[in-house]
């Protein structure tokens, strides 16, 4: 079976005419099914752009991107939306839960766009909430009544409900204290052990220890650990 993610010679360039700014250059990346990959880099390194392309929110300027065997590099807006609904579960740094809406409603939100039959919805949402270890007495609470850690669990449950092949998390611990952040990372690891593929974008060094593998991105290029360290030393930046 092929890798879940296959990126070949991918470029993303912003601007037009003489004013071109490359954000990503010559990216090659494979992520196997069931793998837990961390993409690490400082802000401005191009990791957000990479995450947007991996998440099918944006398309590359050049190169190919196969997700679950499908070439998504040339797709239009509505096709990309369908791919997102079917194949990707997003987890954001700022949770992005609907305020004034219950935990249950938040978790069931993806069903609106995946057209999941109503009869399956409650069961699948409950299974997802159990998978992230959210106490059952919280399920009917409004999302804004929860703590940060609980909110992120709800968000992870929301990413799980459609059973997507890929869970894409963008700085999921960025808005949490380190203890809660650690618990959330453990949740991701548990999910991976249950067979899920996780790509986590972060600048948190702890993640590298939990993930199967970490790749580093600097100035729009994927580099190995040593090059990354050398780069950071040269530019005087000290990330973590």
């Amino acid at each position: 079976m092929s890798a879940l993610i296959e990126v070949r010679d991918l470029y993303k360039v912003y601007g037009s005419g003489d004013n071109l700014t490359p954000a990503l250059e010559a990216i090659d990346l494979d992520v196997a099914r069931g793998e837990f990959l961390a993409i690490m880099g400082p802000s401005g390194s191009g990791k957000s752009t990479l995450m947007n392309i991996l998440g099918c929110l944006d398309v590359p300027t050049m190169g190919t991107y196969h997700l679950d065997g499908e070439d998504v590099a040339e797709m239009g807006d509505d096709q990309l939306a369908e791919v997102r609904a079917a194949k990707i579960g997003f987890v954001f740094q700022s949770f992005n839960l609907l305020p004034r809406a219950s935990v249950m409603r938040n978790v069931q939100l993806p069903f609106l766009y995946s057209r999941t039959p109503v009869s399956e919805r409650d069961e699948r949402a409950e299974a997802a909430l159990r998978a992230v270890n959210l106490d059952e007495d919280r399920w009917d609470h409004m999302s804004n009544e929860l703590s940060g850690g609980q909110m992120q669990r709800v968000a992870i449950a929301r990413a799980l409900v459609n059973d997507p092949p890929l869970i894409l998390a963008d700085e999921p611990t960025g808005n949490l204290d380190s203890r809660t952040g650690h618990k959330i990372l453990m949740t991701f690891r548990d999910l991976q052990r249950q067979g899920r593929t996780i790509v986590l974008i972060t600048h948190d060094a702890e993640v590298a220890e939990i993930a199967d593998r970490a790749v580093h991105i600097r100035d729009g290029r994927l580099v190995d650990q040593a090059t990354a360290d050398a780069h950071d030393a040269a530019s005087g930046e000290d990330e973590e």
Partner: protein, 416 residues
Amino acid sequence: MRATDLVKETTLTLTSNKARSALTILGIVVGIASVILLVAIGQGAQNSITSSVASSGSNLLFLSASRGGGDRGFGGGPPGAGGGGGAAVSNIKALTNADADAIAKLPGVSAVSPELTSQYKVTAGAYNTTVQVNGTTPGYKTARSVDTSLGSFITDQDVRGATKVAVLGPTTRDNLFGTGSDPTGLQVRIKGIPFKVIGVTKSKGGSGFQNSDETVFIPVTTAQQVLTGSNSVSSIDISVETAALSTPVQTAVTNLMLQRHKITDPTLADFQIQSQQDLLNTVSTITGTFTGLLAAIAGISLVVGGIGIMNMMLTTVTERTREIGLRKALGARRGDISIQFLAESVLLTVAGGVIGIVIGWGGAELIASTGILAASVSWSAAALAVGVCTAIGVVFGFYPARRAAGLNPIEALRYQ
């Protein structure tokens, strides 16, 4: 997005901020309520005016002397005598009994009733009332479809003999003799001259300036001899056999009158002829314009309400930018986002419209029940209001919905 999901999402979103939703639809509520109420009042006025015109008889033509021609009078000559030699007399300006008799002979005319009306003080014992005294003929019964509830109406004999008999309208009877009493055989005095009451007409419930209930009918000849002292009449009512004959009879009467008054140029005619249909049309046009004006004024508030909706929807789109980004990340397509916001705006306006209809309808019923003004709400007006609300929702929701749908998910998710 499934239709049931759409409805559920929309209601959940709107009810999660009840105060704001309620305030947003207030403009629409007020707009629709005022449209419904004002149109109901206009419609009520139109109905009551047209029914009062219609109650004065059907297939009627009204012949009256034009301004400047009618007052010169004829003077001299016994009343009724003009019938034979009327054509020989030159410069006849006023309408006379002879004119009426000649018109009665035209084909298609079923009844003719000359009228000589004026306000007089009528007394009976200690009571008096100032009413319209209408000198007329038995033809009036047919022409204006009046009937007597007590006694009888004026007869041809009364007209020929110029007898001093009177038929009272029910209101006049109530004022002079007491409500529901039978005054036949009793006496009333008009301008001090005694008249014997021979009948009371049935109530027709007309209102305003032409209330036949507040009238006293006497023979036209009596009115001419005793009250005015001239043989002219103020108007002639011509009853046409069928509505279809109305126009040909109108032409025939015009030609006859031109001939009798020796006028060659029809534009110089010293009389005017009007059909009841003309009158109804005129009245309908006037009240229709009036209703339209009221609706237009109320319509302005609807537009203001619509702008309120658009304003709130635009605010909502800005406020919910991140939510829109999230929904897009979860797989919402452009159409899903746009239909959701459009549904919210339509649901707001339709809810406002329904509440507005209830309030407007209630207000109209309240006004009608007080009896100050007539008001009638029609289902068609209510249905139209709902249609207008939906249209407002679509029109004023379209731009915000498009804006929401067009947001870039990456920027929307990053929006603070």
